[in-house]
Amino acid sequence: MLRSSLSSALQTRVAALAREGAAIVVATRDGSLRPSIARAWGVEPVVGQDAIRLCVEAPALSQMRKNLRPRAEIAVTVARPVTYRSAQLKGVVVELGEPTEIDLARVDEHNDAFSLDAEAMGFSPPQAARVIDREALLSVTITVQELFDQTPGATAGAQL
């Protein structure tokens, strides 16, 4: 995929899905290739790069926290709970850090949209609000190498 088209797809598919309330899940792996899953929030494409920045739930001492390190391979799915329209990107971690105020504002905005979708699925607002673990958030920047359509069905896995 051309770099410009990947950047564009990150905006139109990934960021747009997140703004609509999509759930974000990331997967990393340890040295024995054992995968780990965690939720993530507030995804935003990095301007001018084939990269995204988001906040991953990675509690201290968790396997996810151990796995997240520069150059670590990572997969990210963005899926709306009410339609299961989803996309998956794959890449490598390039930067880690504590979330900034801007990151946390984006997390709140995303969580609000997610809660609306979750309520539409029959969950109560207090339940939906409990999905996020704010104390464990870690800001992660990822260079994206590939982007796939991940909506369940026969074409799941097609490259975007």
Binding site: L33, M121, A156
Partner: protein, 444 residues
């Protein structure tokens, strides 16, 4: 601090495909992959089964590296659990495959995605670890604790064994399901050929909106065809997943028509319980609820036991002996289809055959309600095809019963629906024939 291990048996609500579960695998080159599994199903205390439908990358990764991790969510409490898995093997037949196939096929049939969501296999994984995310956080439950199932079953069986003063075992069963288990909206269906007809319902404030179902179509039809209990704990969410799948598939729209359920009221959870006696489908109880998760893995086994018990109970002859002094003695002569009650002639010919069918099914299965359609389709009644005059025959039968003193009545209780009325229990005697009269009298 290492999170405490959670027994799989304590998170069964998470394990029947309500909220699709992200499942991560890892390729040999180190790149993880995530896919959403429609179903993570409990197999035993340390194994789960994952449906294999569309996931080529996942399958390839598991061949290279059997390690996986899946995130499951309790749909009632939204608590999340992480399961570390080790892929063991794939099954394409056997009880685990069939159970998952039943569930997926019922859903697919209900939403018209049958050609899309075909189950290609089930991947059996050993659960290496099961931990709750954010261990220590108080659980917020929207539902009460499940009642003591054994106590409730005991009560239900006692209800069904009690004297049936109204001679309406089906009504008694639906009442008991409501009283004992709180299953307030129920429908009782009976098979006739390739269809299922609604013969009784409870909790709808009127007749259900749909009264006929094709065997094999939709949730009810698939449960009947496969003779397996089918539960959908969260109907709307399951339909969302099915729709997402369907929207991406190249299937004709006409093949994707959702199948109507018996009601158009708010339905969040449904169950279909086939009644099978001696290997024969004798009926089906459909249950629905406006509560999320009302029917699911926690009570699927209970529903199966209820189904077996109901099938056995309804198949037993009514406990009325021929020498019971209270009984109406019914004698049916096959020679001309004449029916006598306590020695008095009632009716003969086609109306006699119809009356004999109703009385016989009442005694055999406890039924009190019947539909015109099932009579019309019953070939044993030998009604002439195309011009059966069923309505006029029923009018004649009703009038004859009304005008007599047999203790038997037949009333219309809705469009195309009849109800037997009996003053006393019945004792039936059939007088067979091998002579020529039968054929001559067949279509009066």
């Amino acid at each position: 601090m290492t999170p405490a291990q959670v027994p799989l048996t304590s998170i069964l609500e998470c394990l029947q495909g309500v909220i699709p579960s992200p499942f991560a695998t890892c390729a040999a080159d180190g790149m993880p992959n995530i896919t959403y599994m429609s179903t993570v199903q409990y197999v035993d205390v340390d194994r789960v089964a994952l449906s294999r439908q569309f996931f080529r990358k996942t399958a390839a990764n598991l061949e290279e590296n059997p390690a996986g991790q899946v995130l499951v969510v309790d749909p009632a409490t939204i608590e999340q659990y992480l399961l570390d898995l080790r892929y063991l093997h794939t099954e394409t037949e056997g009880p685990v495959f069939e159970a998952l196939e039943n569930h997926l096929e019922a859903l697919a049939a209900q939403t018209g995605t049958g050609q899309v969501a075909r189950l290609r296999g089930v991947d059996i994984h050993r659960v290496v670890s099961c931990v709750r995310l954010r261990d220590g956080l108080e659980v917020v439950r929207d539902r009460g604790l499940a009642p003591d199932a054994l106590r409730a079953l005991d009560e239900f069986v006692r209800h069904m064994s009690a004297p049936d003063a109204e001679h309406d075992l089906v009504g008694l069963a639906l009442r008991a399901l409501d009283d004992v288990f709180g299953f307030a909206r129920t429908v009782f269906l009976v098979p006739a050929g390739d269809k299922l007809h609604v013969v009784a319902a409870r909790g709808y404030g009127g007749a259900p909106t749909t009264s006929d179902f094709n065997v094999g179509d939709g949730l009810i039809g698939v449960a009947a065809q496969r003779r397996q209990v089918v539960c959908v704990p969260h109907l709307a969410r399951s339909q969302v997943m099915a729709s997402a799948v369907h929207d991406r598939a190249a299937v004709p729209r006409e093949g994707a028509r959702p199948i109507a359920l018996p009601t158009t009221e708010r339905v969040y959870s449904v169950g279909a319980v086939p009644l099978v006696a001696n290997g024969v489908l004798t009926g089906l109880v459909y249950l629905e609820s406006d509560k999320q998760g009302a029917f699911g893995p926690r009570n699927e086994r209970l529903l199966r036991i209820i189904g077996h018990h109901l099938a056995a109970t309804l198949s037993m002859p009514a406990p009325v002996a021929a020498n019971d002094p209270r009984a109406i003695e019914i004698t049916y002569y096959r020679a001309d289809d004449s029916v006598f009650a306590d020695g008095d002639y009632v009716i003969k010919g086609a109306p006699g055959r119809i009356l004999w069918k109703l009385l016989r099914e009442h005694v055999a299965e406890g039924r009190m309600q019947f539909t015109n359609r099932e009579l019309r389709l019953d070939e044993d009644l030998e009604l002439p095809p195309g011009n059966d005059n069923l309505d006029s025959r029923l009018v004649a039968l009703r009038r004859r019963l009304q005008g007599g003193s047999s203790g038997i009545g037949l009333e219309r209780v809705g469009r195309g629906r009849l109800a037997l009325q009996l003053d006393r229990p019945l004792a039936l005697t059939e007088v067979p024939t091998s002579g020529p009269m039968r054929r001559e009298q067949a279509w009066p």
